[in-house]
Every structure is written in structure tokens, then in C-alpha cells.
């Protein structure tokens, strides 16, 4: 029984459908990566799984439960966490307040989770009282991911987490993602840096024009000549 299933998803933002029978599946503790050219529907597929987009056909299942009709806030309560690509922190609030807001739905003691986030991102601990808007791009991404982790989610969805981030920080970010997955959290990631993303992926989904083109493990896709020609530059 797969943990997170988005099956046969068809829908769009308005009249025109962007997704056509798209299937995304991730097992517990797996890292699933969605790659593809611009306009392929990668972010759209993830937003559909999170409920920010209405699909008229298909369903989303979390741990066997059908959550297709739930609002995004309700899905957060079910254990999903979403890190948007842009505007993903509260800029006038401190790092610590950002993390507190991430844990808003929780009524229990959050200090242990906050310590875990600070262990994962040590630099945030140094800057805990600084406003999130004053941090560099890479540190802001860490705050954004940390904020999402505060709900102790079962599924963490990241929309292009390495967009606009330097190569070294990108490596660090991917290392952190692997560490998070190791704690048993399922990761679903949309990425433009296809090569590096597929390198750490247990499952890779190549999407073209709203449809699944290739689905396999990350390593197999990296070695697939067609995939390499289309997106990885040979």
C-alpha cells in the first residue's frame, strides 16, 4: 500500500486542463522527485496533491485515506507540509517566530521539535532572533523548510527548493533533505536541477505536457539516454 498516491489526476487552473491523467506515487520515507521541462505541469501536479488546485478527475490518497476533497489547511492537519517556491517565510517576523507559526496547529510543547530543526539547520540557531526577511536566500530556504517541519509532517512537499541558490548551499540543502527522509518523512520534490535531484531520488517522475513520460528510480533515469538528451544535456 503506497503512502502517498496521486492517481489519474486531470485538471487545471481554469477552463483548460494542465494535467492529463498524471500519476505520482511515493512510499513512506521515500524521496520522490518530479522533473521535466518548463511548463510540463510539475508544480501543478504538486499543487494538485496539496489541494491548491481542483482536479475534476482522479484522486489523492494519503495512507489509504481519500483526501481529494479536503482543503489545503485540512491536509496540513492530516500531516502534509508544503514549502512554496517564493514568499515562503514571514519576512518581518524572527526566525524563531517563523518556526512558531509553522507549528501553529499544534497545541503541545513545540520546543523539542524546534531543537530538532535547529540541529538540522545549525545556522538558524545563531540567527533565531533575526528577521527572516534579512537572511540570505539559502538561509531563507532553510527557514522555509524548518517552518514546514514544525508540524512534524508525514509528507513534506518542496516546490523547487534550490531555485536561486548557490551550488554549495544546494548540496547542503539536498543533504538536509536526505536526513529528513531518513527520519521516515516522505519527500515529494519538484526540481529544475534535474541531475542533482535525480541523484538523491528513490523515485523519479519525468513529466511532459501534463503527462507522465518516464517513471523509474533516480539512477535508472539518470542513465536513460532519452532522459539525458531531453533534460540533462547529454
Amino acid at each position: 500500500m503506497s503512502y502517498l498516491v496521486g492517481e489519474n489526476m486531470t485538471g487545471g487552473y481554469g477552463a483548460a486542463d494542465i494535467l492529463h491523467g498524471c500519476n505520482i506515487i511515493a512510499e513512506k520515507g521515500e524521496i520522490a522527485v518530479i522533473v521535466g521541462p518548463n511548463g510540463a505541469g510539475k508544480s501543478t501536479a504538486m499543487k494538485a496533491i496539496f489541494g491548491m488546485l481542483n482536479i475534476h478527475t482522479g484522486s489523492i490518497l494519503l495512507d489509504g485515506e481519500d483526501i481529494t476533497t479536503l482543503s489545503p489547511q485540512a491536509r496540513v492537519a492530516k500531516g502534509m507540509a508544503f514549502v512554496p517556491q517564493t514568499s515562503n517565510v514571514f519576512p518581518t517576523m524572527s526566525v524563531e517566530e517563523n518556526l512558531e507559526m509553522g507549528a501553529f496547529l499544534r497545541r503541545d510543547d513545540i520546543s523539542k521539535t524546534m531543537d530538532e530543526v535547529f540541529d538540522l539547520f545549525p545556522i538558524l540557531k545563531d540567527k533565531r532572533s533575526q528577521n527572516a526577511g534579512e537572511l540570505s536566500g539559502g538561509q531563507r530556504q532553510q527557514v522555509a523548510v524548518g517552518r514546514a517541519l514544525m508540524t512534524q509532517p508525514k509528507v513534506l512537499m518542496l516546490d523547487e527548493p534550490t531555485a536561486g541558490v548557490s551550488p554549495i548551499v544546494m548540496d547542503e540543502l539536498f543533504d538536509n533533505i536526505i536526513e529528513v527522509a531518513r527520519t521516515g518523512i516522505t519527500i515529494l520534490m519538484v526540481e529544475q536541477n534535474a541531475r542533482q535531484a535525480l541523484n538523491i531520488a528513490d523515485k523519479g517522475y519525468v513529466m511532459v505536457q501534463g503527462r507522465n513520460k518516464f517513471t523509474d528510480t533516480g539512477q535508472v533515469l539518470l542513465n536513460n539516454p532519452e532522459v539525458r538528451k531531453s533534460f540533462l544535456g547529454g
Binding site: 489547511q73 496540513v76 512554496p84 515562503n88 517565510v89 514571514f90 517576523m93 507559526m101 501553529f104
Partner: protein, 337 residues
């Protein structure tokens, strides 16, 4: 030396003390406006009339208490009536949100639509207040009038000038300090307050974090009711209550909020004092003050007044225009208008 002391007393009596009181009243009003702008993201043009409505309810209950012989000794009876005014205003605002603003929120209207809707609410409140209490001046202050009387001070110190501080002025400053401290504690230390700041900062992310938009909206309106009623009552105790005057206060209140930076409560407070001091200092006739400071034959003939007091509101307007032209985000860099 004695002349300088007299000059200082003169300025304190006619400029500093009134400006601090007026500034506190504007500050409380401006914080209400800035909260609505920052959290609900529109300019609430009904704010002056909301103050009038709240003060009207306070006045009615004050008269009721006075008729029963209930009073607070040296302090104005209006303080006892404040909670009633706040509750009535809160009910009205929550109702106006449910029947007016919510409709536009569901349609995802642009901010200017809410602004026009607030103008509509302003007219409705205009009518309600005049209908219930009439358009004329109402005085409802009772209790002691002065903390310090200029005459008593002159006699005691033997100076030509003295400073008088009215109970209403002292009350204004103390109340404003308490209210502001309470508001900042609420916004910075409580879960609900932080969620409202988060909602103001990044609405989509706040929704994703599970913050309920309905609760944020309701709490915002309740805060506005508290701030507007207190500001209106303090202003009415200090000067007098006349519905038209409260409508006119909209200009200096908005000027204060914009000067301080829209969306920033600290800025609104600073803006309130900037506007109050500017209004009073620019329209004050400095003749007597100058006469105390300069040597004998330099005494001025004219009033040495930059602008007549009729033009007080022109001062706010000019400052508003200058700020919008040169630094639209205000002193504390709030959201741009």
C-alpha cells in the same frame, strides 16, 4: 532667567501639554487605522465615524450613570461607560464585516473596493450618530477639571506664566500608554497576536500554516472597536463631542498613520505625535513667546503666527502630501500606499 522660565511655561501650557494630549488621541486613532490597513489590507475611511459612534454610546451611558448619581469622584464618569461603548462598537463592526466586507472577501475584490465600501459605512454611521444624539456639541466630562491650575502655579512660583494640566489630558496620556503597552504585548507575546502579524506579513503562508482567517478578521475588528472608542472618548472628554469634528479627524489620523508607515503600529504612534506637534506649533502665535526671549526693543508687533488656527487641518494635509511624494513608506517603512 525668569523670562526664559516664563517662555518655557508659556510653551508648555499652550503647545507641549496640548500637543502631547492631542498626539496621544491621534496615535490611538492611527493605530486602529494602521491595523486595518496591515491586516485587512484596506484604508478604513469610516474610522472617524467609528470613533464618533463609540463615543456616542459612552456619552449615553455616562448620562445614564450621572442620572443615577453614579460617579467616579475626581475622575470622569465616562470611564465607567467605556466598556459599554466598546462592546456596542465591536458588535457594530463585526456586523458590518459580516454583512458588507465578507461579501467582497468572497469575491476577492481589490482593496479600493473595500475603501469605497468603508465610505458607505462612514455615511451610515454619520446618519446613525446624528439621528441618535444629534449634530450638536455634547459635553459629558465631569469630576475634577484640573490636575494643576496655571493660576495656582503662578501664585505659588511668582511667575507671570503657569502651566495648567487638565484631568482629561493626564488621563489621555496614561490611558494611551496603558493601551499601547497592552496592544504590543498582545501582538508580540500571544499566539493570536503573532498569528495576526503573520497574516499581515504573508497571507497565503499564514493560511497554509493553519491560521484561521475568520478569527484574525474578528479579532482585528474588536481591537479597532477598543482603540476607536477609547480614542474618541478621550478626545471628547478633552475637547467636546460633535459628530462633524470626529469626521474631520479622519485627515490627521490618516496623515499620522501614513507618516509613521502604514501597517506599523509603532509608526502610527510616532506619526500621531508628529502630526499633533506640527499642527499646534505651526498655528501657534509666538508673539508672547518671542517677547520673553528677545531683548526689549525687538518685541514683535504682529502675532508671529505661521498659519491661522483655521488652517490646522491644512498642516496635516501638507505633511501627508509631502510624505507621499518623498517617502511614501513613512518613517518606519511600512507598506506603500
Amino acid at each position: 532667567m525668569e523670562d526664559l522660565l516664563n517662555a518655557f511655561f508659556l510653551m508648555s501650557n499652550f503647545v507641549f501639554v496640548p500637543a502631547i494630549a492631542y498626539g496621544s488621541q491621534l496615535a490611538l486613532g492611527a493605530v486602529g487605522v494602521t491595523l486595518v490597513y496591515g491586516i485587512l489590507r484596506f484604508s478604513n475611511f469610516a474610522h472617524g465615524d467609528i470613533m464618533a459612534f463609540g463615543t456616542m454610546v459612552v456619552i449615553l451611558f455616562t448620562w445614564l450613570f450621572q442620572s443615577y448619581g453614579i460617579n467616579l469622584g475626581p475622575l470622569p464618569t465616562a470611564i465607567l461607560a467605556l466598556p459599554f461603548g466598546i462592546i456596542a462598537t465591536a458588535i457594530f463592526l463585526l456586523g458590518s464585516d459580516k454583512f458588507v466586507y465578507k461579501f467582497y472577501r468572497e469575491k476577492k475584490a481589490v482593496p479600493v473596493t473595500y475603501l469605497i465600501a468603508s465610505v458607505g459605512i462612514m455615511f451610515v454611521l454619520n446618519g446613525i450618530v446624528r439621528f441618535i444624539i444629534g449634530p450638536n456639541d455634547q459635553r459629558f466630562a465631569d469630576g475634577e477639571r484640573f490636575i494643576i491650575k496655571a493660576k495656582a502655579m503662578k501664585q505659588y512660583l511668582g511667575t507671570a506664566e503657569g502651566v495648567s494640566i487638565k484631568v482629561s489630558q493626564g488621563l489621555t496620556v496614561i490611558t494611551a500608554v496603558i493601551v499601547v503597552m497592552a496592544l504590543f504585548w498582545f501582538l508580540n507575546k500571544t499566539r493570536t497576536g503573532k498569528s495576526m502579524r503573520a497574516f499581515s506579513d504573508n497571507e497565503d503562508l499564514a493560511l497554509l500554516s493553519g491560521i484561521s482567517p475568520d478569527k484574525v478578521v474578528s479579532v482585528t475588528w474588536i481591537l479597532v472597536a477598543i482603540l476607536a472608542t477609547i480614542a474618541g472618548t478621550l478626545y471628547g472628554l478633552d475637547k467636546s463631542f460633535k459628530p462633524f469634528t470626529y469626521f474631520m479627524l479622519l485627515l490627521p489620523i490618516f496623515a499620522s498613520a501614513i507618516v509613521g508607515g502604514l501597517g506599523n503600529p509603532l509608526g502610527a504612534i510616532a506619526g500621531g505625535f508628529v502630526i499633533a506637534f506640527s499642527e499646534i506649533m505651526i498655528t501657534y502665535p509666538y508673539k508672547k513667546f518671542v517677547a520673553y526671549i528677545v531683548p526689549g526693543d525687538w518685541k514683535p508687533d504682529g502675532l508671529v503666527q505661521l498659519l491661522a488656527t483655521d488652517y490646522k487641518f491644512a498642516v496635516s494635509f501638507i505633511i501627508l502630501v509631502l510624505v507621499l511624494l518623498f517617502k511614501p513608506t513613512g518613517i518606519f517603512a511600512g507598506k506603500s500606499v
